[in-house]
Amino acid sequence: MLRELWNDAEGGFHPASAPDFLPTEALREVQLRRLRAVVAHAYEKVPLYRTRMDERGLTPAAIQGLADIARLPFTVKADLRDTYPFGLFASPMSDVVRLHASSGTTGKPIVVAYTREDVEVWSEVMARTLAACGLHRGDILQNAFGYGLFTGGLGAHYGAETLGATVVPISGGNSDRQIMLIRDFGVSAICCTPSYFTHLVERAGELGVDLRALPLRIGIFGAEPWTDAMRDHIEAAAGIRVFDIYGLSEIIGPGVASECGEQNGLHIFEDHFYPEIIDPETGEVLPDGAEGELVLTTLSKRAMPMLRYRTRDITALIAEPCPCGRTLRRMRRIGRRSDDMFIIRGVNVFPSQVEAALLAVEGTLPHYQIILSRQQGLDQMAVEVEVTPEVFSDKVGALEGVRARLAKSIEHILGIRVELRLVEPRSIARSEGKAKRVIDRRNG
């Protein structure tokens, strides 16, 4: 009802956003009720959770209050890999309506599943994300997140549909067309990675299109780390306000947390995702305000509940009330990780994946180095591999074949194009012991 009566012309909030403003006490009640249900569901349906809880002498009845969550064991990314593909599913396949996948840490993918209700929750939290960033019903959203197994594209797409915005599902790439659409349709908001938008700003300049003169007013950026300096630059260059959003496919995809108009921390949609901050070394839970690793528990996921999932993202929770009125706690922007993962064009990459790819082709691991750079605003990833006498050939064609096979192997595992360069033996600098595997020349 509320949805029908709601006037979205100016200012107000979208009815989907109502849970953002729950009184704290009511929010904690919802959280506890859902936590107990999800723990019971996970314990009953997922052998891994049951075994780990049994080992600690825990049953779902152990969850009497929210603080009891700290008694539950952690779940880590390797658990998804080890139980691939269906081991963490808590719903029968007949209830599953969607599967997404992302590359794991070693080349073996991880799979995530959604029931119809899960897709509805995902759409809801993404609608709340877009609303928090200032999008209204009737606005035109150009969705330049990649569509496919990556959760970014379809997550934002369903959220915008739920919100009642017009979706232009352009997906990634083809910058000239992106700019033409922004201009010709009077697009109000765009979803993409911050680095891709920086590239669009540059390209628009080359094409003589002044983004500041267009109706575009909101940028919704995620899937890679960025800084306030980048925000200032983009806001000035494009004449828009830009917002950081956060999510990961293991939890649901985008829609875990979002900035609001204050642009000062990301509100976690706590009614669906319960956040903790832990010391990444000891696993001890830290108080609000302390910096540590973000751990998330899904409170309403059916197909694939996650209990205390260690995100490896380092942040801190902000419990102080936000001037926007949302009662949801905020998290600081992600600055770094507790592992060696890096993000390139929105894709998560572990050096171990590159190693797996090189090993698959060569049989032994050659000396290699990953070089990240940013050209015209776009992240580039190059992998330099030392030529070994075994693969060397005076035929340009044969060497080119080796190069292409290595590049394809990496591309297959990561799903992104990389530049593969063959370099001379011993040309990659070795430090004491292990060579430095990743050289990051991107700034900001």
């Binding site: 993918p109 549909e161 017009t166 997906s171 000239d176 033409m180």
Partner: protein, 447 residues
């Protein structure tokens, strides 16, 4: 305004998604069509293009007394759509548009189509109809290997699968090895892609040392490019699946205009939503049933952007004989050709003029070019032969290679396909008096 079919009966009839709509007796169907056509004429009066034409010819809903009066209505062409860039054909207020898709145009500028929430629901239902007819069931898992994006293929099928209640794996296009691993590991029952890509997947499986017939897929839903009965046999044999054909175009709605039933004797046209004529492209008079002609489609129920007599340029044949499956609708043959020079490359529509435009963006290239299309294995390959000119020639190999890459990039930007650029010596491309022959298509795409 327009009732969407409700799926209350699908549990009783696993083979027909919407029995009432799909098996409606001819008389009732035509009565419904007439009612919807009148309504359409009233609705498109919102669109300046049609309003002006109707005013000149004094046409209104009252002019439509029988379905034969369809012929009093004007044609709509791709050029008309382009002239109204971006959304001049919109028949509802802008705020009601839920989605925008695009299709390639004869120049770099694509044409766009808009959908209301109702249109999207209709589209999902139409795709559900052919998916169920081809074997998809709610308990299945379906892998979508069509590209998502402005192109309508991926989304139409995605929502159709969701509507049926099956699980969607939205892999999108490309990365064949990954497609095969996902298919194998997640047990995909159905594959959605272009027919040529299905053969690529079979090849890829063999390269990985897998038996393509042992892959879990059992149903294939193929469209987006022309194919033949020989190719169907090949695909079914190599992958051990049942392969069905479906048809649609984004200007009208996307996939879902028609699709095959288990009889696989032509594609059932969803006649309660589309009026399809088959005309001689020269005289614009109807051809007798069974004769090839250009399909001209009128959307009866589309809300955001209804099309009156849209000239598809696709050549096919119509068959009015009853089908063994029980559906009463008109069937169309495979698309056997085009009345224009459009090519379909790996499911992407490409016009030679787009290649020309891409070349023009690279200073110093000549207007002399030749597009060679071949299918050496299972996938289309395009070579664009371009004459080199003195301004562009360098004694340095890296510069020459950069030139090829730059032309290739422009083609990718304008036409959306990857092409090999072959530089040739001056005067090596044949000159024509009159209309130049720009395309050399070596694929065998018709029966």
């Amino acid at each position: 305004m327009l009732a969407q079919p409700h799926q209350t009966h699908r549990q009783q009839d696993p083979l027909i998604w919407d029995r009432e709509a799909e098996t409606r007796p001819r008389e009732a169907l035509e009565a419904l069509q007439l009612e919807r056509l009148r309504d359409l004429v009233a609705r498109v009066a919102q669109v300046p293009f049609y309003r002006d034409h109707f005013a000149r010819q004094a046409i209104g809903p009252h002019s439509i007394r029988s379905l034969a009066d369809l012929r009093r209505l004007p044609f709509t062409t791709k050029d008309d759509l382009r002239a109204q860039h971006p959304l001049g054909f919109l028949a509802v207020p802008r705020g009601q548009v839920a989605r925008i898709h695009g299709s390639s145009g004869t120049t770099g500028r694509p044409t766009f189509v808009a959908y209301t929430k109702g249109d999207l629901a209709l589209w999902s239902n139409l795709c559900a109809r052919f998916l169920v007819a081809g074997g998809l069931r709610p308990e299945h898992t379906a892998q979508v290997a069509f590209g998502y994006g402005l192109f309508t293929g991926g989304f139409g099928l995605h929502y159709g699968i969701e509507r049926v209640g099956a699980a969607v794996i939205p892999v999108s296009a490309g990365n064949t090895r990954r497609q095969i691993e996902i298919m194998r590991d997640l047990g995909s029952d159905a594959l959605i892609c272009t027919p040529s890509y299905a053969l690529t997947i079979a090849d890829g499986a063999r390269e990985l040392g897998l038996d393509p017939r042992a892959l879990p897929i059992r149903y294939g839903f193929f469209g987006g490019e022309p194919w033949t009965e020989d190719m169907r046999r090949e695909i079914e044999d190599q992958l051990d699946i049942v392969a069905t054909n479906n048809y649609g175009l984004s200007e009208v709605i996307g996939p879902g205009v028609s699709g095959e039933c288990p009889a696989r004797a032509g594609m059932h046209i969803q006649e309660d939503h589309f009026l399809v004529e088959c005309l001689d492209p020269e005289t614009l008079e109807p051809v007798p049933d069974g004769e090839p002609g250009e399909l001209v489609i009128t959307t009866l129920t589309r809300e955001a952007m209804p099309m009156v007599r849209y000239r598809t340029r696709d050549i096919a044949r119509l068959d009015r004989a009853p089908c063994a499956c029980g559906r009463r609708t008109l069937r169309m043959s495979r698309v056997t050709g085009r009345t224009d020079d459009m090519l379909i490359i790996r499911g992407v529509n490409v016009f030679p003029s787009q290649i020309e435009e891409a070349l023009l963006r690279v200073e110093g290239t000549t207007p002399h070019y030749l597009i060679e299309v071949a299918r050496p294995g299972t996938l289309d390959e395009v070579h664009v032969k371009v004459e080199i000119r003195p301004e562009l020639f360098s004694d340095r190999m890296d510069r020459m290679q950069a030139l090829c890459e730059r032309i290739s990039r422009e083609i990718q930007t304008v036409a959306g396909i990857r092409a090999h650029v072959d530089l040739v010596e001056p005067q090596h491309i044949e000159r024509f008096v009159g209309k130049a022959k720009r395309v050399h298509d070596r694929r065998n795409l018709t029966d």
